[in-house]
């Protein structure tokens, strides 16, 4: 049953995000150099962290799928990666806004996190087209899982390589999240929690919706029998349960 706990999770998410917003605007001090714009850091970095964890989690779930052949793991992997991709786009957008505000350019090559994200985004953007291009549903799930595993392993390697290559060019523009004063640290942690909860809640919503739809189809099939149009499901990138 996927729907259990959804309401609790949603309320918790809204609550934590409200607190986080409050902290960001009223509690965290203004940063000396960048001023008000710096506050985007409290959105940008948590988005990045959650997105990356999501991609790696998607890879782990894919491993489970290959091991157990249970289609539910594939569904989880799909939703996780799908959601992480959306969060990755948000990371790129917020990072870009921050770069424009701090440096005057919409894009900076000297910020390794942003650059790595671009590459990771380009890679995972092929996930859904790859799924869609394979018609046989079981083959699709299996190949998607292989992709998720390879891509998941790629994420840390990519960060390492990009960081190595940009280190000696410029100092980090957008700053790192260590060496923060206590107030900022607290705000950051609460933000991180809020965004993580948001991610989990959205994933849960999507999983519940898909699961319910699959149950509905199964019920309809037992009622209507062989002639049910849902048997002739058109091609889709979404895993079938």
């Amino acid at each position: 049953m996927y729907g259990r706990g959804l309401r609790t999770l949603s309320i918790a998410t809204v609550a934590v995000m409200a607190i986080a917003l409050g902290l960001v605007f009223f509690y965290a001090p203004l940063e000396a150099e960048q001023g008000f714009l710096q506050k985007i850091f409290y959105v940008h970095v948590p988005l990045a962290i959650v997105s990356l964890c999501g991609f790696v989690a998607g890879g782990l779930m894919a491993i489970q799928h290959l091991r157990t052949r249970d289609p539910r793991w594939d569904m989880r992997s799909y939703v996780t990666i799908h959601m992480s991709l959306i969060f990755a786009v948000a990371t790129l957008i917020t990072g870009s806004i921050w770069a424009k505000g701090s440096w005057g350019h919409w894009w900076v090559w000297s910020e390794p996190t942003l650059v790595s994200f671009l590459i990771v985004f380009l890679l995972y953007a092929t996930y859904q087209p790859l799924r869609f291009a394979i018609e046989d549903p079981e083959l699709q799930s299996r190949y998607a899982s292989v992709f998720a595993i390879v891509a998941g392993a790629f994420v840390p390697l990519n960060f390492l390589a990009v960081r190595l290559s940009t280190e000696y060019l410029h100092p980090r523009v957008l700053g790192s999240s260590s060496n923060l004063p206590a107030k900022m640290q607290l705000t950051f942690l609460v933000s991180l929690l809020g965004i993580a909860l948001l991610y989990l809640t959205l994933c849960k919503y999507e999983l519940t919706a898909k699961h319910t739809r699959a149950q509905l189809r199964a019920l309809r099939r037992t009622l209507v029998g062989e002639g049910d149009p849902s048997y002739r499901r058109s091609r889709s990138a979404v895993p079938s349960l």
């Binding site: 046989d136 549903p137 079981e138 189809r217 099939r221 062989e226 849902s230 048997y231 499901r233 079938s240």
Partner: protein, 223 residues
């Protein structure tokens, strides 16, 4: 030799094979009839270890699939719609490649080439040979390793009567050879069969000893 119990194979949410149970003894020939899309090819591919069952149990040559599939490969031969040969390579090169995969000698290759009467065309790329000749090379490939179980998907489709006679010793009935043949030809297929399975939309509509089956019942399957 073959034991199927409640075999199910799905394609997405549809069942390509539904609740197929049967038993074939050594040396027997099972002929499978049914319209296109009924699941004949799927059944053959499951028996060959290429596909795994989604439910039910499959036992081939005394080994349970898919766990012991590795013990079965090399003892099963599949002759499908595709010849499974490389068009750019010659008959000899193709067969030598398969021989190496199955750890067989080059002499066996020459033997088979002679058995299908293609020794004189063995050095020409397959794309220059006629469809019937390629079909004969395919038969040579499928039987190269002297499989105990032969799975034939409409084997006579591309062969003229002379070729059929030629390959009879390779794929014909024998006490040591168990066969599963899929066929569209009611009378021809029946004459080869010890056991008959009729499939319709993945379900077994007919399962009986061949002597007690009438050709009209097979025609019914296609209606």
């Amino acid at each position: 030799m073959i034991e199927l119990e409640g075999l199910v194979r799905r394609y997405g949410e549809r069942e390509a094979l539904s609740d197929v149970s049967l038993s074939v003894a050594r040396g027997q020939t099972l002929v499978v009839f049914g319209p296109n899309g009924a699941g004949k090819t799927t059944l053959l591919r499951v028996l060959s270890t290429l596909l795994r069952a989604h439910a039910g149990s499959v036992s081939v040559l005394g080994k349970s699939l898919p766990d012991e599939a590795w013990a079965v490969r090399g003892r099963v031969g599949l002759l499908g719609h595709e010849p499974l040969l490389y068009r750019e390579l010659t008959a000899r090169e193709n067969l030598r490649f398969h021989a190496r995969l199955h750890d067989l000698s080059a002499e066996r290759v020459e033997e088979r080439l002679a058995a299908v009467a293609l020794t004189d065309r063995a050095e020409e790329p397959l794309k220059t040979l006629s469809r019937g000749m390629v079909a004969r090379v395919a038969v040579a490939r499928a039987t190269l390793h002297d499989p105990e179980l032969l799975l034939l998907d409409e084997p006579w489709a591309n062969l003229d009567p002379a070729a059929r006679e030629l390959i009879e010793p390779l794929i014909g009935a024998s006490a040591t050879r168990t066969r599963v043949i899929s066929s569209h030809d009611p009378s021809g297929g029946l004459s080869e069969a010890d056991l008959v399975l009729g499939l319709r939309a993945g379900r077994p509509a007919l399962l009986r000893d061949a002597e007690r089956v009438d050709p009209s019942e097979i025609a019914e399957l296609y209606r």
